[in-house]
Subunit: 299 residues, 2 copies
């Protein structure tokens, strides 16, 4: 049981966490913090949080746990605002999509990452933003990755696990750098490619009547891409900056693979093209088959 | 009313067309043709076609209309097999995802594209293949692009329009080359990028436990990509080869845009990154807003 939970940033993620935790009866009081008064007021109206304070120091006062659900670019600022304002035993965690940058932010503010700070990342979201779009089931069956450091306090880790367990999420632990590599691959690179593709297409002139034409004739493939680019550009800009090294490594690798595939298409190397397509489909089928097997075998 | 309709290739597309046309009561008899006996037998068992013949000449005998629903790589072969076997007034159409290559195949076989040949392309499909996956509603509300040539017979065009109208599709006409440019943008490039991305990720070693890890932690973005690569690799290989010029032009443009974006991320050019993401999202939101307005305004 958490007596006072403060969530800084009550948008889609922060708001959904508040709803889920409230429904699970895990907290006595949930306080919202942040800069967006309209958003925070709406959060109180919707019953997502019990009260709010735009002053970070007051919002985190006497909190048992503080969740940072702000954009990656704002993490250091918020940590600086709450430093010295929380109790020594207050547990802090975050929901940032990149973890190295959050750890670095904590080091910049505290000298070392506090033992009570548990970096975390729920792999969940929709293309909508804001508390209005939040819902208690957002994390149900989704994964939450926690990236504790060697000196992270065990009790703090357990409490953050309990928090996420209450949302119905499945919790995994891994190293900070490993997290950033995995997420660069599974989430950041796909988003970057989707944004780049849509931008390439809308800016070009192929003699189409207008750029709307590419949307009008969007087939299955492109429709999936355009759904991805409905996400918040600022959040994704922040992610690109925060997880730069892992993303750049992957972009370079992808570029060289794409160059090879382009060369195969250019010279009509039927076998070379098919090899790439077959490998991709085989890996996908293998993994989803396994997933289905696991799911059906789960009790 | 078509007395005898022959569909060469009774898979997902050919089978769904047969089902839709049969349900609409547009044909007296539907004949299946092709090489895959098991598939054709199953098509008869399922009531998708009335009978089949693996001999193309016999399958198209006395047909009023012939639909080529075979992979792009097989179009010329099939056209060659039916040349001289159809009546002079038999209408021929196809469902290939690229149109220049089909027109070239027809020229190779007949010297000039016959006036009764109407190149077409239904923009519909699922990631499943085969007659077993076919269903009458596949084309309902989807677009079918017809690319008649200047000398295409008006009556033939009208009949092919009626065929697709019966499936519930919305029919658009455009030039052969324009079709290939639009589809390279809206369908072919997205598929190629998705295959390339998944292949890059499964082949790399980022210290992940194994390549399955990227699927286990697949967030929204990547999940959409992996759905795309469930498509048939051979069909997509054929499309890459058939629509090479338009695809290569786009791949080159995309590569240069991606290089610029990569450079922005590398140097931390916040404005540069955001400009790309904002343009993409704005175009997407604009077009889908318009679509919703149109849809809600439609009677």
């Amino acid at each position: 049981m958490i007596k006072r939970l403060t969530i800084i940033g009550v948008g889609l993620i922060g708001g959904s966490l508040a709803r889920a935790v409230k429904r699970a009866g895990l907290c006595e009081e949930i306080v919202g913090g942040g800069r967006d008064v309209a958003q925070l007021r709406r959060a109180v109206e919707l019953g997502v949080v019990d009260r709010y304070d735009t002053d970070i120091a007051r919002a985190v006062h006497d909190a048992d746990m503080v969740v940072l659900a702000v954009p990656l670019g704002a993490m250091e600022l918020v940590l600086r605002a709450l430093a010295g304002q929380v109790r020594p035993d207050t547990i802090i965690t975050d929901v940032g999509s990149a973890k190295t940058s959050v750890v670095v932010a904590a080091r910049n503010v505290f000298g070392e990452v506090p033992a009570n700070f548990v970096p975390g990342h729920p792999i969940a979201g929709t293309e909508k933003n804001g508390v209005e779009a939040s819902f208690a089931e957002l994390f149900q069956g989704r994964r939450v990755i926690l990236t504790p450091l060697p000196h992270t306090d065990t009790h703090a880790l357990t409490q953050v696990r309990l928090l996420w367990r209450a949302t119905g999420a499945e919790i995994t632990e891994m190293g900070v750098e490993h997290h950033d590599e995995v997420l660069a691959a599974t989430s950041h690179l796909p988003h970057i490619l989707a944004y780049a593709l849509v931008d390439t297409l809308v800016r070009m002139d192929t003699g189409m009547d207008n750029s709307d034409e590419i949307f009008r004739f969007a087939a299955g493939g492109f429709r999936d891409f355009t759904r991805i680019v409905a996400s918040d550009p600022v959040m994704w800009r922040d992610i690109c900056l925060a997880n730069r090294p892992a993303i750049i490594t992957l972009l370079e690798r992808f570029r060289s693979d794409l160059d090879a595939l382009t060369a195969s298409i250019r010279v009509g190397d039927s076998e070379g093209i098919l090899a790439v397509f077959n490998r991709a489909k085989a890996a996908r089928d293998r993994c989803y088959q396994k997933k289905e097997d696991n799911d059906s075998g789960a009790k």
